[in-house]
């Protein structure tokens, strides 16, 4: 019974396609899977937007949306209808074709990433040999769509926003990739399915997730920072800024194209959260051995939503960085830390089992973190801060 609950979607798919003639079954199952992914993530997007607006509202001592439906839960529906019925304004001088293509390229690229994501036991659309590489390749394609949007609008604010966004995404893509490399080094595979399986072991009821090792923890922290910057989330939301560059690269978009950019941003967030979950938090595996009976897909989506909640929390608490701080942080702190982490991972691999490697690797990570932080603080003339509130 419990196994059936775990595999419910797989069984449902087999049952549905069994009505068709045998030479259609493969095509039908692929189409069904794709349709599910394309419907599921916009639904999650609606939930996440509502959660974000309500949660941010509470963090800022206000109610958030509470007019549409009970407690405002119909707000995403109202927003959707509004964006569908709004006039789609294209600037007269804009490059019509590129302006039209940009949101499409973005949405297609972010959805492609889910093709290789293991969302549960046996729940992956295509089990590629190099699925991690595929995900990063799709992520890299989104940068171009942002540039297309900013450039084709023929608007200085848009162009500046696009340049900021692309520079930021390129800078943080390096630590994002390098922090994932340690996982590949340990697993010996680029396949996301194999990476999850390698973490799905338990000793004393506790899981062998990569985040519970010195190099895994350091890689995880770097990955979270880089993923926030990649998805243009606060505190790295420099590409937008009402007081500086209006809405950044999508200033000149309205109506449904604007909604597509919004959707692309959130679905990209789900993608990166799903990837981080798969790499560091054991994907669909349960956090304790005795909870193994809970269906695997529940764990995956619970972890992704927890990750989104963390993003919302950070957005509600952290002030945003300045452009030069952003770049300095990427190139002078995050990147060297990921390089040190590569060394630590190699050391871990060749030191063999035992407590010694735990001690040595932890010490290296902590010392590197503290030393790099201090040097940067001194160079930036940043001492301990003192705050003076209204007295």
């Amino acid at each position: 019974m419990l196994e059936k609950a775990d595999q419910i979607f797989v069984l449902l798919l087999h049952w549905l396609v069994s009505f068709l003639p045998s030479n259609w079954q493969h095509v039908a199952s692929v189409v069904l899977c794709v349709a599910t992914i394309v419907l599921l993530y916009p639904a999650l997007f609606a939930i996440a937007v509502l959660l974000e607006r309500k949660g941010l509202g509470r963090m800022q001592n206000r109610y958030g949306p509470n007019r549409a439906g009970p407690f405002g839960i119909l707000q995403p529906v109202a927003d959707g209808i509004k964006s569908l019925t709004k006039e789609d304004i294209v600037p007269f001088r804009a490059d019509a074709l590129v302006h039209f293509m940009a949101p499409l390229v973005l949405v297609v690229a972010v959805f492609m990433g889910f093709a290789v994501m293991p969302m549960g036991r046996n729940m992956v659309l295509v089990d590629l040999d190099a699925s991690l590489l595929f995900f990063f390749a799709m992520g890299a394609s989104t940068e171009l769509s942002i540039f297309m949007a900013g450039w084709s609008s023929r608007n200085k604010y848009s162009l500046l926003g696009a340049m900021r966004a692309v520079a930021q995404m390129i800078s943080y893509e390096v630590p994002l990739l390098l922090s994932s490399v340690v996982i590949v080094m340990m697993t010996g595979s680029l396949s996301l399915v194999k990476i999850v399986e390698a973490q799905n072991h338990y000793s004393w009821g506790l899981p062998h997730w990569y985040v519970f090792t010195p190099w895994g923890l350091a890689g995880f922290v770097m990955f979270v920072i880089a993923s926030m910057a990649e998805t243009n989330r606060s505190p790295f939301d420099l590409p937008e800024g009402e007081s500086e560059i209006v809405a950044g690269y999508f200033t000149e978009y309205s109506g449904f194209k604007f909604a597509l950019f919004f959707l692309g941003e959130y679905v990209g967030m789900f993608g990166i959260a799903g990837l981080g979950t798969t790499l560091f938090l054991g994907g669909w595996s349960a956090p304790f051995a005795f909870l193994g009976w809970v269906p695997s897909w529940i764990w995956f989506f619970a972890k992704v939503m927890a990750w989104i909640c963390f993003f919302i929390w950070v957005r509600g608490t952290m002030p945003r960085l300045r452009q030069d701080q952003l770049m300095n942080f990427a190139w002078k702190f995050v990147l060297p830390m990921t390089l040190v982490n590569l060394m630590v991972a190699a050391l871990w691999r060749f030191m063999g089992e035992g407590l010694l490697r735990w001690a040595v690797c932890s010490v290296i990570v902590v010392v590197a973190y503290a030393a790099m932080g201090r040097v940067e603080m001194r160079r930036g003339h940043l001492g301990p801060r003192s705050y003076r509130y209204a007295e």
Binding site: D129, L133, F134, A137, M148, V166
Partner: protein
């Protein structure tokens, strides 16, 4: 040759031709990106997953962005005043592109008889590629790594020099 091959090949050719013929430089760069994407799809059609994905990651994710940045940071980004779509020097561009293609094609055709002829497509996993890079081809890999590091340091030095001069 399947139907998909013809579609992808047409896409790649169209992208390449547009990159040579169009007037607006940013359009050319975007058309070049289409050609890169088509090339990646062709690799994937040949079951070369690793090369296909690396083609997307490196060429679309990095090289295309670099080209675009280079265009925008120079005066090429200015929108042309006239409403012509095609470049005035389209013929010269086409001739140069055709000449390069001819040389490459000639070289490939010359080398083809020397290559082992396989009737069955080899199945190469990413793991095997990794093992080969770390084992047999480790020296070329190290040389490339050294070259790239030198280029990186050079770029940093160039950037740093300008900054000090500005102060």
């Amino acid at each position: 040759m399947s139907f998909a091959f013809y579609v992808v090949a047409a896409l790649t050719l169209a992208g390449g031709l547009a990159a040579v013929l169009l007037k607006n430089l940013v359009h050319c760069a975007l058309a070049l990106t289409v050609a890169f994407a088509g090339l990646a799809l062709l690799f994937l059609q040949l079951d070369a997953q690793f090369v296909g994905f690396v083609q997307i990651l490196v060429y679309i994710g990095a090289v295309a962005i670099l080209v675009v940045f280079a265009i925008l940071l120079t005066r090429g980004s200015e929108t042309p005043k006239s409403s012509e779509i095609f470049s005035r020097t389209w013929l010269a561009g086409l001739v140069v592109a055709a000449a390069v293609f001819a040389v490459l094609g000639w070289a490939v055709l010359q080398a083809a008889p020397g290559l082992p002829y396989a009737t069955v497509a080899p199945m190469v996993t990413v793991q095997e590629i990794g093992a080969a890079l770390m084992g047999r081809y480790v020296l070329p890999l190290e040389i490339v790594a050294l070259l790239l590091t030198a280029a990186l340091i050079g770029a940093v030095i160039v950037a740093m020099h300008e900054k000090e001069g500005a102060r």
